[in-house]
Symmetry: none
Subunit: 291 residues, 2 copies
DNA sequence: CGATCAATCGTCCAAAACGATCTTTTGAAG
DNA sequence: CTTCAAAAGATCGTTTTGGACGATTGATCG
């Protein structure tokens, strides 16, 4: 996963001299390792973090194999969303990647991207379908493409120390909607959790087992459909008890959790948006750091 | 089995060239033994402590055990499959990526990887679960990880000319099993089709629309469950007619298509394995090239 | 056992990266 | 407009790297 880059590659990518890049490395602005012979080697994720933190534009993104737009990239989020809608509708995977990678590199938090670009675009495509202006396969394909974009974004996020707390999550049995869980994963990762998706269509029983096995500090579940509300409530409350027992926060999200349903179950937090999830995760981290 | 490693293995594990590693050995930076014939053999612990001494903690001890897949023997594929099973079971996404990427780079066809490594590993994990030796979440997570590996493999495949024929496909309504369709996509891409997944949970009606819109030369469908066999057969036969009308081959796959079911429907080809799919796709290309 | 073939050997060399130093550009102050 | 210091870029001789080469070794199989 960790791809290493030479100073020259990174310098070319962001359009500065090799000297400057080496200086920045030596000043501690970019983490790097040295080979036994003394050559600097940068991790791709560290280079990305630096680019993001400096608001650098990429002159030659292909130097580090990034599918980034070659030009000025100062889009508003709304503009980006509209571009993404078109790219999704036409099934242009490469363009989807470019748009989202661009936004990420220009410094937007992952949670913002998920809320205001990905989810927003996806909803709009759902609207188009309801108006008869898009086919179902376009909506399904958009879902697939978003998922791929999310997976790719995942590879660009900075690495976390192995001391970082673990988060696990997924979707429940009967609920094949993977996208939200994929987004939750990258949002939590950026918030500082070593987030791992268990997959979709998970029976309740195995989630208990997973908590026992991995001792996560946070467990997320995305619920987009509920077959039997009564049984759901009972199972969910049992899950919350297991979570309590192992000191894990239980975070829920998803449109199926209406106010009525929420009243019948216990949980640590319900999140309407990924920004909420991000905030909750960060405050959880802070409160744990002080104890 | 043996606790000693070749220079090539260590070089791969830490991402440097074999030449450099050999030089470092000869400079005394890494202790090593020599066989009677003069080949270097490094102890696992020496390699690890060398990595640590360079101020690098990123490599977990297991990463160094990564085998070098440069041969083409069946033995290597089997070995890789076993390594992959372990990586999937422990949820090590980076290691999964590495195993499969190595195999691809060493020249194995994508179809072979899908059949003999990915699918084989996945089936074995299913077996482990049935024997009670693995939890359901491990099986679900393995599915998720395989999917990510497939998506990543997709980005490594060579680009195709825009003149290449189009293939589209996906899974049907009620069938959330995405993995097979993802593998079909990369296999077809390698065979020379500009393959695009439409997504999963597709109603029949929208597939007709997609064929009309994209005029594919090939349409694949992965069927892992059938709710209403009679209606399925009727819909599938209608789909085959649309495919014929637009000169598209209809390729089916999936365990739900038993012999009985197959007898009741029409299609261009049924594929048990991805190698079959690859062969069919290539012969289709050839026959079209000559006309 | 002997044949076979991938893996590894040692060596070589061009390209890349090193550190150090020097020159140019930038931006703010007088 | 000039001055000046800090940042960025350019230059240079030296060292390191990574890939290529034919020759040798080691694992495997009949």
């Amino acid at each position: 996963m960790s791809e290493t880059l030479s100073p020259k590659q990174v310098a070319r990518a962001i359009g500065v001299s090799e000297s400057s890049l080496k200086r920045w490395c030596d000043q501690g602005l970019i983490p790097f390792l040295k080979t036994a012979g003394g050559h600097r080697r940068l991790a791709l994720q560290d280079a990305i973090s630096f680019i993001r933190s400096r608001g650098q534009e990429l002159a030659n993104p292909e130097a580090i194999r990034l599918p980034v737009h070659t030009g000025k990239t100062h889009w508003t989020l709304e503009r980006a969303r509209d571009e993404l809608i078109e790219a999704l509708n036409s099934g242009d995977e490469a363009l989807c990647r470019r748009i989202v990678t661009d936004l990420y590199l220009s410094g937007h938090p992952v949670a913002t991207l998920c809320d205001e670009v990905l989810t927003a675009a996806f909803h709009e495509i759902g609207n188009l379908w309801e108006c008869g202006m898009a086919q179902i396969y376009q909506e399904r394909r958009a879902c697939e493409l978003c998922l791929r974009v999310v997976f790719q974004l995942r590879t660009l996020l900075p690495q976390l120390p192995s001391s970082a707390p673990v988060a696990i999550g997924g979707t429940l049995d009967g609920d094949p909607y993977t996208l939200a869980t994929g987004m939750a994963e990258i949002v939590l990762w950026e918030a500082g959790f070593r987030a791992m998706t268990l997959g979709n269509l998970l029976p309740f029983a195995t989630i208990h087992k997973a908590i026992e096995a991995h001792h996560p500090r946070l467990m997320w579940l995305s619920v987009s459909s509920i077959r039997d509300p009564q049984r759901f409530a009972a199972e969910m409350n049992r899950l919350f008890e297991t979570a309590l027992k192992f000191n894990a926060a239980l975070v829920l999200g998803g449109a199926a959790l209406t106010e009525d349903v929420r009243r019948s179950i216990r949980y640590s937090s319900y999140c309407d948006t990924f920004t909420h999830l991000d905030s909750f995760a960060r405050s959880l981290l802070l409160s744990q750091a002080t104890t």
